[in-house]
Amino acid sequence: MADIEIKDIIKKENLVYSKSKILTDNEMHYCPGCSHGTSHKLVAEVIEEMGIQEKTIGISPVGCSVLAYNYLDIDWQQAAHGRAPALATAAKRLMPDHFVFTYQGDGDLASIGTAEILHACNRGENITVIFVNNAIYGMTGGQMAPTTLIGMPTATSPYGREAALHGFPLKITELIAQLPGVAYVTRQSVHTPAAARKAKKAIRKGFENQEKKIGTSFIEIVSTCSSGWKLSPVASNQWMEEHMFKFYPLGDLKDAERDNEADYKKYIE
């Protein structure tokens, strides 16, 4: 045992991690263990580290993260359900030097807002999309989402999702990756320290791509919803690893810059 007392460690000069200045002091309304909190934090840290608070506009969705504007100290627009990419399109085109990102859940982005996200990505809008996919509608009480896995019970698929009855889970991120306007598509998670670090790098890359004006950056964060899944936060993380990652495998789906194939440019030329 080292001969230093706790009180001598807890000193201002020894502080190595504290809350980002971009996060407000508002207590988050999310359930214990919710991936939204961690995802918010990573976005906040990226904004702080890039020094772009004064130039960042966030677009919040309808869903659990509708109140994201209470937690990140930046200017926000609160969108109608699914329409965040439309707002972002206009904000970015009218203020091209600003950083514009949408923050959307799977109900918002992959169900009601399918048209808006596909077309914004297809136009190659220079925006960053943070897509939090927990395979359920959290805010309305755990109903089936487009991304709900086969067999997964929800409030509106109480006996488990059945393809014949409810259709198949939608891999919208794979669809998005096909679009020539999209520069960067990746699927991450935030449930472990290593995963969170990788996700943060991906988010940072997504924001940096806006400076390069190379098209849309799309970052899916495979997430948990312990209230909707009716599991403890820790058990939710395990369930996610065992089930969600099989259907929604983590990793980059597209990196036009790395692959030196800014696809949309080929179309233009």
Binding site: V66, D75, W76, R93, A115
Partner: protein, 362 residues
């Protein structure tokens, strides 16, 4: 005197927007107003004034692009026709709730449903009674000429920013498709970032600087009491607009014993009807609401003390007539005439309907 041109109503909307210094147009094609976006795309204002023009994937996306642009303090607009406006109403409610200024244009066609592509005035209720969900109003300007299509672009934007409210130009297929001589406005530069800060700096989402709190464009408040408070504020604003912004035009009302009330292209038809009736010795006048919200209720109530009866003439099954009746409040008979579903009435039909209603079918 500005430049004189011969233009279609729809074309002049586009021309006026560029000349006014609008920042963005977001729209989706629909007959009978597609010339608006076509003209903008042909003019390429992004190369001259810097105005953004984008063909969106739907009317739903268009109106939400307006929300995104308006929240940045920019002067943004869209245009559509009846079915498209129906699709936009959710977004209009959000814009009204978040108090975001913007300009909408509805070149009305016959309905319901997919209806027809011919002119109609059957979207009056939708335009003037909120249309979408919740207690809200938008300013509604009803042009009766190509000149007013030009003039109301600037007026619509000015009122929108004065009150932080969406403005709607409620046109119809006649005015949109008709060509007339028009004196177009002079070119004005778009607002600079500094001007936007001066005009909308207290609320626009232009990026949170150190010297202010973050700005949030939202229509949400989960606390009912706060939402009621917000509604009180909106209602007070609407009363203010009703007090200040009523616009109308009168035609031969000085000695009138009867009154026609009509807006937009129907008012043009009714001018002729007034002349025809006066040739028969019947003293008829015309009141044309220019703003259909706020509605010229007070003036109509005054005229109810002067005339023996009023006929609301509109290309609908009877919508504006309800507002006329509310204004008259039972004092004198109020009736309605109009062809609808895309059919435009003739001056003679109006005369016939008037005689039948008020002169025992003479």
């Amino acid at each position: 005197m500005g430049e004189l041109k011969l233009m279609k109503g729809n074309e002049v909307i586009a021309e006026a927007a560029i000349r006014y210094g609008a920042d963005g147009y977001f729209g989706y094609p629909i007959t009978p107003q597609s010339e608006i976006m076509e003209t903008l795309m042909a003019q390429k204002p992004w190369e001259t004034t810097g105005m953004v023009v984008l063909q969106a994937e739907s009317e739903v996306a268009s109106i939400n692009m307006l929300y995104g642009g308006a929240a940045c303090g920019k002067r943004v607009m869209t245009s559509s026709s009846s079915p498209g406006l129906s699709l936009m109403l959710e977004g209009v409610s959000y814009l009204a709730g978040a108090e975001l200024p913007c300009l909408l244009v509805n070149v009305v066609r016959g309905g319901p449903g997919l209806g027809t592509i011919q002119p109609s005035q059957a979207d009056y209720f939708q335009a003037t009674k909120g249309g979408g969900h919740g207690d809200y109003q938008i300013i509604v300007l009803a042009p009766a000429s190509v000149q007013e299509m030009n003039d109301f672009v600037g007026l619509g934007f000015d009122l929108a920013f004065k009150y932080r409210i969406p403005s709607l130009i409620l046109s119809d297929g006649v005015i949109g498709q008709m060509m007339e001589k028009v004196e177009v406005s002079d070119y004005k530069p778009r607002w600079t970032d500094e001007e936007i800060q001066k005009i909308s700096g207290s609320w626009a989402t232009t990026g949170k600087t150190k010297n202010r709190e973050r700005h949030i464009a939202t229509s949400l408040d989960l606390q009912a009491e706060k939402m009621e408070e917000h509604n009180h504020k909106l209602q007070a604003k609407y009363r203010e607009i009703e007090k200040n912004e009523v616009r109308y035009e009168e035609f031969q009302t000085d000695d009138a014993e009867y009154l026609l009330v009509a807006y937009g292209s129907s008012a043009r038809i009714c001018q002729k009807s007034v002349t025809l009736l006066r040739q028969k010795g019947i003293k008829v006048g015309l009141l044309r609401p220019i703003t259909v919200w706020p509605f010229p209720s007070q003036r109509i109530a005054e005229l109810a003390n002067q005339v023996k009866g009023m006929l609301a003439v509109e290309m609908s099954a009877g919508q504006m007539v309800m507002d006329v009746k509310l204004a008259v409040n039972g004092k004198i008979p109020v009736s309605h005439f109009g062809r609808y579903g895309g059919v435009v009435h003739s001056p003679g039909e109006v005369v016939e309907a008037f005689e039948k209603q008020f002169l025992g079918g003479k």
